[in-house]
Assembly symmetry: C2
Homo-oligomer: 189 residues x 2
DNA sequence: CGCGCGATTGAGTGAGCTCAAGCCTCGTGG
DNA sequence: CCACGAGGCTTGAGCTCACTCAATCGCGCG
């Protein structure tokens, strides 16, 4: 629990959000993944591939040393199967964001981000619900690092969404979307 | 073999390069992965996630129906293990490109692309070799779709690399890099 | 109160896009 | 054998979206 860098071991995210980041030598940074409960955390079969894990919010983890998990995986094929499924899902998500980073405009990226968060965090996880309300798990700086934009651009796009009555924002963090359909229309796909 | 869209089955890429693409409704497109021999091709446990597979070059495949592979995977844990390893590698690659798409400049992206291709294609797969020579498996349009740029920008950056004597180009397709170190310096990381 | 941190807002700049023209190579048909 | 056209690539000119730099705001905390 807290914001330590938990590498060299496997963990299960019990609550909170963990960000996975990659950086360039001159300080530019990109968030390459967000892990929500109850995701796994860690990179089997390899000496951590230059990815840093950092808590984005208060986080509670359940972690094991590397060797233990690797032994468990050999013993129980079910575990490996579950890990494969999660990895495939992460790959799908990564590719979804490659599309956003490579081809979407700033406003489409922000809309897509809000929609993704809404779907992951909104407590009333009713997929049919046409509205959502949630706290952003990331600061503007983190959102910018996730979307490949600057803080200022993120802020301006949020302001525009608010001005268009697509979202409401309270305390800089809490977002309410009355009509998710209107948000979806702004995602570009 | 050829350039058909091979979905709904699993395949092994025997030779050539397959591009995985995602598109937006208005036609914008992004290449989200390249599969070289001897990669797997296909998406287990899911009804193909809005990703299209298309041959980038002449390709030869060895493919099986979905059901067969899924049965084989249940029978042999070794297969599932191998699939997990490849999937983890693809995830690493996808994240590498998220960094490029989100944070690298056009010239850094082109340099990174050339380096990636050199490492995958150069016949003399000697990792210690400090030079490489290879045919680009993609057209300028495909490179642009992979790097989140336009054809024109890709072309201009290649011209700049050529003008700086980092690469030589023959027939628009064949690239020679005399000093890979100089190319690496232009990747940003 | 005053400081620090995160966020917003404004003004000006520039990297990469759009639009447009021209080049090169190769295949096809006269 | 050459003319022609198509497709892929390059180059140029101008524009625009997102970036940079800078000022300001608001809030929480010592």
């Amino acid at each position: 629990m807290g914001d330590a860098e938990a590498v060299e071991s496997y963990s299960n995210v019990l609550s909170g959000v963990v960000k996975l980041t990659k950086g360039l030598s001159d300080g530019r940074q990109q968030i390459v993944g967000l892990q929500f409960a109850p995701d796994f955390l860690g990179r089997p079969f390899k000496s951590e591939s230059a990815i840093d894990a950092e808590a984005a919010t208060e986080v509670s983890l359940c972690s094991f040393p590397r060797t233990v998990i690797e032994r468990m995986m050999k013993a129980s094929p079910g575990l490996e199967h579950r890990l494969l499924k999660q990895t495939l899902n992460e790959l799908d998500e990564a590719r979804e964001w490659m599309l956003a980073l490579g081809r979407k405009t700033a406003s489409e990226r922000v809309a897509s981000f809000l929609l993704m968060i809404a779907r992951n965090i909104d407590p009333a996880a009713d997929p049919a619900a046409r509205s959502a309300s949630f706290d952003l798990p990331l600061t503007r700086a983190d959102i910018a690092d996730f979307l490949g934009l600057t803080i200022e651009t993120v802020s301006r796009q949020l302001t525009r969404l608010r001005a268009s009555d697509v979202i409401r924002i309270e305390n800089n963090r809490h977002v309410t979307v009355d009509d998710l359909g209107r948000l979806e229309q702004r995602c570009g796909d």
